[in-house]
């Protein structure tokens, strides 16, 4: 029984690993191919099956005038928008979550839980519902097709995630910890940043990770709210897929765009395994 279980376990793990990793390997190998190697026949192994070339990677940094696709600028745009929006979302979201976790709000029939749900409901709603209001809103305030406009929209998208994760986290931090800080001579602000915040680092990391992931992978709003002035990476990558698809540079740009998330995952994974996340506070 247990042997069968072990076998099945490793079988499914292996299967899933291949399922997930194979497309990556495929993209890696394709990014080094040229037109011939992609279109003539199925090729797998560099030097044996095909002669590898860096052309697919080179066009990524060439300006369009010289026949390149130049993803450098969209790349930095994406980093700027994602990081700024994530940072602001985390700061505001954490403060909101702390308030929702510690204080009691009453307004008519509205209670803390209703406010929390209101935040979460922003994510439950299909994004397409928001597209037209956002478009009109940004064009009214003149931020259509600008980085700042995207940051504003992304904060709306990311802050619910931060609030959701941090409310749950703060609810698990005993209230007595804040009270002890107050008794020990901290005013409420000091209690928050001297005691509660340092003990919330695991929660902040998780919330930050989710914000960065959801900000980075968003295509829909980046596509709708920008035209020519500003382009974000996902839009640029998808735009490569035109009538004649340059599979090699498309693969290269896809790899470049997932790279930051893989790096983030590696860093965060280390933190998550170091401090047991939920058991950090008893």
């Amino acid at each position: 029984m247990s042997k069968l279980y072990t076998f099945l376990k490793y079988f499914f793990i292996s299967f899933w690993t291949v399922f997930v990793v194979a497309p990556f390997l495929w993209a890696v190998s394709t990014s080094f191919k040229d037109f011939q190697s992609v279109n003539s026949k199925v090729t797998y192994i560099p030097w044996l099956d095909f002669e590898p070339t860096l052309e697919g990677w080179r066009v990524l940094i060439k300006s369009p005038a010289k026949g390149g696709v130049d993803i450098v600028e969209p790349y930095f745009n994406s980093i700027f928008v994602t990081c700024t929006a994530s940072l602001i979302s985390i700061v505001l979201g954490t403060l909101a979550a702390y308030a929702l976790s510690r204080f009691t709000f009453k307004a008519g029939f509205v209670r803390n839980n209703d406010i929390t749900f209101f935040f979460i409901s922003q994510r439950i709603m299909p994004p397409i519902v928001l597209s037209i209001p956002f478009f009109i809103f940004l064009s009214t305030i003149g931020l259509l097709d600008s980085l700042l406009g995207l940051v504003v929209v992304y904060i709306v998208l990311l802050m619910p995630i931060a609030v959701w994760i941090m409310v749950d986290f703060f609810n698990r931090v005993p209230k007595e910890l804040d009270e002890t800080a107050l008794i020990d001579g901290c005013n409420p602000y000091q209690a928050f940043y001297k005691v509660v915040l340092p003990n919330s680092i695991p929660g902040l990391i998780v919330a930050g990770m989710f914000c960065i992931i959801f900000g980075w992978i968003d295509f829909f709003f980046a596509f709708i709210l920008t035209f020519t002035e500003v382009q974000l990476l996902p839009v640029k990558v998808v735009a490569l897929n035109s009538s004649i698809t340059p599979w090699w540079s498309l693969s290269a740009s896809a790899l470049v765009s997932v790279a930051p998330l893989i790096i983030v995952a590696f860093i965060v994974e280390r933190y998550l395994s170091k401090g047991n996340l939920s058991g950090a506070l008893k």
């Binding site: 007595e176 020990d184 005691v195 008893k282």
Partner: protein, 359 residues
């Protein structure tokens, strides 16, 4: 110069958490608040600390209106029943935290912290992480932090309740030592607990609290000997004092078809119906005694608790040896009539074997 509370009420919802509580705590004294869970002990301590504001009533300390002073300026210390320390700081930093908050000089801080560590017996643990400590050690850190502050009001909210039996015994002994040695005559110590034994051992002034109301105040001995009513008798004894509905006539005490000779301290009592009270430890197994049926027998340490039944009366007897009984078995027991309490039908104390309120 005392800590005085007057007519404090706190009613955040339908129920009173504190109902018309008054007290006058003097410096250099130990006060214990005895009450069952949800009796308002924690609420009272939090009100004194300033974490809760009462709906009514006033608190003053050193002639100042305490309610107007925010928590962080009150100079109180509190130890919770959960072991609350700052998880991101090590033992030493945990204890220095309130001192640094008060901006004391580094030399003063070092001196106070070393002293506190010595008092609670945690010298050598300075650089340990809180998570690496056992429950008892964590509670010692919390206590050390409170002691190092040299606060004028020290609040301990059931500090031993979450510890295992052995550790509780040990720490209780140490608490007694710390309270007598480690505290200045300037400090008011307020200790809340559900455990009557702790109250007796700490031997301070007791306030018995139930459903937010003060039932009785007085020295521990007085509460033990002369509980003012049935509720206090129940709360201040573990197991709770047995109550037997019965009556007294000119010759005997009668309850459940049992007649006992009238003890001396009942001689002057009016002949009528009473609630008789008798402690579990004053009931002995006796071949010539009265027959009761065993409902449950639990062995606790070196003692056996017998839950007995006869007619409508259920009582608990504490047998001071480990014995095995079968459920529904009949046993014969004897009551020590000299230790009988008499409570009126209004549940108030009428007569006690220690000479309280004699009718």
């Amino acid at each position: 110069m005392n800590l005085i509370g007057e007519k404090i009420s706190y009613k955040p919802d339908e129920q009173f958490h504190l109902n018309d509580v008054s007290f006058n705590f003097k410096k250099g004294n130990l006060y214990t608040i005895l009450g069952r869970t949800l009796s308002g002990k924690t609420t009272l301590l939090k009100t004194i600390a300033g974490l809760l504001n009462p709906d009514q009533g006033s608190i003053s300390f050193e002639e100042k209106d305490f309610i107007k002073i925010p928590v962080w300026e009150r100079n109180v210390a509190m130890v919770y029943q959960q072991f609350i320390n700052y998880p991101h700081l090590n033992v030493y930093e945990n204890i220095t935290f309130p001192l640094e908050q008060r901006k004391l000089s580094p030399e003063q801080i070092k001196k106070d912290v070393d002293e506190a560590l010595k008092t609670v017996g945690l010298v050598g643990f300075e650089n340990r992480k809180i998570q690496e400590l056992s429950g008892g050690q964590q509670q010692r850190v919390a206590l050390a932090r409170s002691l190092a502050k040299k606060a004028k009001i020290l609040l301990l909210d059931e500090p031993l309740v979450n510890l295992d039996y052995k550790l509780r015994e040990q720490l209780r002994e140490e608490f007694k030592r710390i309270f007598s040695e480690g505290l200045s005559q300037d400090t008011i110590l307020i200790y809340s607990t559900t455990d009557p034994q702790e109250v007796m051992e700490l031997n301070g002034e007791v306030i018995v609290l139930d459903e937010g109301k003060v039932l009785q105040k007085g020295p521990a001995k007085e509460i033990f000997e002369n509980p003012s009513n049935l509720k206090v008798a129940e709360i201040s004894n573990d197991p709770p004092m047995n109550v037997l509905k019965g009556s007294k006539n000119s010759k005997n005490l009668n309850f459940e078809n049992i007649s006992l000779e009238i003890p001396n301290h009942f001689k002057n009592l009016e002949d009528r119906d009473y609630n008789f009270g008798i402690r579990a430890s004053e009931i002995k197994l006796d071949e010539n005694g009265e027959e009761f049926e065993i409902e449950l027998a639990e062995i606790s340490g070196s003692e056996t608790l017998l839950h007995l039944k006869r007619g409508n009366s259920k009582i608990i007897a504490l047998i001071e040896e480990v014995m095995n009984f079968k459920i529904h078995e009949k046993v014969k027991i004897n009551f020590n009539a000299n230790k009988f309490y008499a409570f009126g039908e209004d549940e108030k104390l009428v007569s006690s074997p220690y000479g309280g309120t004699n009718g």
